[in-house]
């Protein structure tokens, strides 16, 4: 089971960047193998905001966010006090920034492999969880 950082989802819509194909292929694997993914709720506004700035079309951005929400493989986890307390502990352990630490906290708590393009999550998260690029 996996947790996926917002950077991977956004890169699957960004054709000119180096990890575009890998990110798309990873999502295709999730679909084909019916793999289970847990995501923190904050991923929805992160993706929406990032894509809106990249494409400048509010209708398409909103529809994309809704279609992402409806993928049956994805379970969206509320960022409650259990996750935030864990994120604080992870920040103190690793020096990760707040939102980065929330993804690592979820992966740590649910025993998930984190898939990310973020260098800090890759380097600092490695101390606590399984983490890799797509």
């Amino acid at each position: 089971m996996f947790c996926i950082d917002a950077s991977v989802i956004i890169s699957a819509a960004s054709p000119k960047e180096p990890y575009f194909s890998q990110s798309k292929d990873f999502l295709a694997q999730i679909r084909e193998k019916d793999l289970k993914v847990f995501l923190p709720e904050i991923i929805i506004p992160e993706i929406t905001s990032g894509l809106f700035r990249a494409i400048g079309d509010s209708k398409i951005t909103y529809e994309l966010a809704l279609s992402f929400r409806n993928i049956p493989n994805f379970s969206f986890v509320t960022v409650d006090n259990r996750i935030t307390n864990l994120a604080s502990w992870i920040i103190c352990k690793t020096g990760l920034k707040s939102a980065d630490a929330i993804y690592v906290a979820l992966a740590f708590d649910y025993n998930l492999e984190l898939i990310t393009l973020d260098k800090e999550q890759l380097e600092k998260g490695r101390k606590l969880i399984k983490v890799r690029r797509p």
Partner: protein, 61 residues
């Protein structure tokens, strides 16, 4: 720690079970096709030079 205990539910530590959504094959394919179609539309409209990583870093800093 998450542990699969049966097909459509997952137990998370001491917390209650997470019940996974039940979907038939057709609904599953439709949900994915819709998401992939929207990703394609977004790809065609992409208009900035920043990478996804730069976009996310800006979001979080």
């Amino acid at each position: 720690m998450a542990k699969v205990i049966e097909k459509n539910s997952i137990k998370i530590g001491k917390e209650s079970m997470v019940i996974l959504p039940k979907m038939n094959k057709k609904e599953y394919q439709v949900a994915w096709r819709n998401f992939e179609k929207m990703l394609k539309k977004a790809s065609r409209l992409w208009k900035i030079k920043k990478s996804s990583l730069e976009i996310i870093r800006e979001e979080r800093e």
